[in-house]
């Protein structure tokens, strides 16, 4: 067991001073606080209490002022010898099997940049939209049919559309469906980008099968509440197919992005996928090593 002294360990200079100046005790802040409290208390008791409070407050302020001006009043406290033990019994630190040479780790060891997820999400959204619109054309004879149905999730007017109007173009419904589809797709794409490195062997199984199945199952249970219009008209087979298309395309796009090691705490620009030269300053080796 070793006994260490903080003065050696934590300080720059091994010699501690014999005395240290600390702010001197003073009653003025207390007096000022008491004065202020009494000043207010006078409102509920009697004016004389307020007067006393004002008096104390003025005295306290003046006293405090003189305490810090022109120089703050300090008193010297002698430095006492301390018996400091800074040791640990746990001297061995386990290593992660994936990183036997590393003590600290960010997991997983390799990861895709955030932009990969965004790209995957956008690609998947296109694939899904294409399939959904194909469905619209084939089954309902109108590209706008699935779009109007989707908009009804968030848009009151769409959910009131009559059967005939469902097949025609509505700019507002289109805008809402577009934004909704895009935003959710980007988020789900991000999720894929995040999750795929955790299942390194079969990214497509997760993206193309498991996730769409879970997602569709979840939607199946709650769609009635979320979007009664869509729930009443949905074709689950096509719906599942679009989900799978999204998953496979998004998964493929993400996997094809270059990954980078997370060993070093990578800067935000690199993680965000911005790879212009000069965005990553070289690590200052002098500071940390």
């Amino acid at each position: 067991m070793a006994t260490l002294s903080t003065t050696e360990q934590l300080g720059q200079s091994p010699r501690a001073p014999r005395e240290i100046e600390v702010p001197a005790s003073t009653a003025w802040p207390f007096l000022l606080a008491l004065g202020a409290a009494l000043l207010f208390a006078g409102l509920v008791t009697s004016a004389s209490v307020s007067c006393l409070g004002a008096l104390l407050a003025v005295a306290g302020s003046v006293g405090w002022f003189r305490e810090v001006l022109p120089r703050e009043h300090e008193e010297a406290v002698p430095v006492l010898p301390e018996d400091i033990r800074l040791i640990t019994d746990r001297r061995v630190v386990e290593r992660l099997p994936v990183l036997p040479d590393q003590l600290r780790a960010w997991l997983p060891v390799h990861s895709y940049p955030i932009s990969a997820g965004v790209k995957g999400g956008l690609a998947g959204s296109v694939a899904m939209a294409v399939l959904a619109c194909t469905y619209g054309v084939l089954k309902a004879g109108s590209v706008w049919y699935p779009i109007n149905l989707l908009a009804a999730v968030a848009y009151r007017e769409s959910s009131r559309l009559g059967p005939a109007q469902l097949y025609s173009f509505h700019a507002d419904a289109f805008a809402i469906a577009f934004v909704l589809h895009g935003v959710v797709s980007i988020f789900v794409g991000l999720l894929y980008g995040a999750m795929l490195p955790m299942f390194p062997r079969r990214p497509i199984v997760l993206g193309g099968l498991i996730a769409p199945a879970l997602w569709s199952g979840l939607l199946y249970t709650i769609l009635g509440l979320l979007n009664p219009l869509l729930a009443s008209r949905i074709d689950w087979l096509w719906f599942m197919a679009s989900q799978v298309a999204f998953g496979i395309v998004a998964g493929l796009v993400v996997v094809r992005q270059p990954s980078f090691p997370t060993r070093e705490n990578v800067s935000f620009v690199l993680r965000a996928g911005i790879e212009a030269p000069g965005t990553m300053p070289p690590r200052e080796s002098g500071e940390n090593h």
Partner: protein
């Protein structure tokens, strides 16, 4: 086991931290801004909701002159603080007194307006919602001007005693931050009460 004697590498060759006076004053200003925001919101919310008169349009007159006084005092206090930094003691004192005079003039303007409203127009804090919100908001600002003036006066007195030198310039700079804040708030109050409110 043996004693370990490794010590830290010299991590910080240059260790600079913000001035605590300025940080604290910034904190105070944030807090005060929140208070003023609430009063401004109340003022705007109650615009035109008074059940009985008088209305702002009937009784308020825009205090252009006094506003100019207060705003220009921001400039003078800035110059005063700068000149103290460069150790121009007399210039500092002169500009400082000018600031006090301008602030005092503004306060006189407020007092005069209140006097006119109360005794000529019969608008008091309990007359209607306009009275309540008007006197509260303008009064809150006037209170801050008063506190600022008291502090400026204390510095001026010490200045005459020759106790304010370059060594105090940081403290004076912090005080001038407060004064700038009081001025900035007046811009908001002025806009709300005399421009939007009428």
């Amino acid at each position: 086991m043996t004693a370990v004697t490794t010590s830290f590498p010299n991590a910080a060759t240059e260790w600079r931290l913000p001035s605590r006076g300025k940080v604290a004053m910034a904190g105070l200003i944030i807090a005060e801004s929140a208070i003023f925001t609430i009063f401004v919101v109340a003022y705007l919310f109650y615009l035109g909701k008074s059940i009985a008169g008088p209305t702002p349009r009937e009784v308020l007159e825009t205090p252009i002159f006094y506003t100019i006084c207060l705003l220009s005092s921001s400039l003078t206090i800035h110059l005063a603080a700068k000149s103290l930094e460069r150790d121009y003691g007399r210039l500092f004192l002169g500009l400082w007194l000018l600031t006090i005079a301008l602030g005092g003039l503004f306060l006189y303007g407020t007092a005069q307006e209140w006097h006119r409203l109360i005794y000529e127009r019969g608008l008091t804090i309990s007359t209607n919602l306009f009275g309540t919100t008007y006197y509260s908001l303008v009064g809150l600002h006037a209170f801050h001007v008063t506190v600022g003036l008291i502090m400026l006066l204390v510095v001026a007195i010490f200045g005459f005693m020759g106790r304010v030198g370059v060594s105090q310039s940081d403290r004076v700079a912090v005080l001038s931050m407060y004064w700038h804040f009081v001025d900035a708030v007046w811009v908001v109050v002025f806009t709300v009460v005399y421009v939007l409110g009428r």
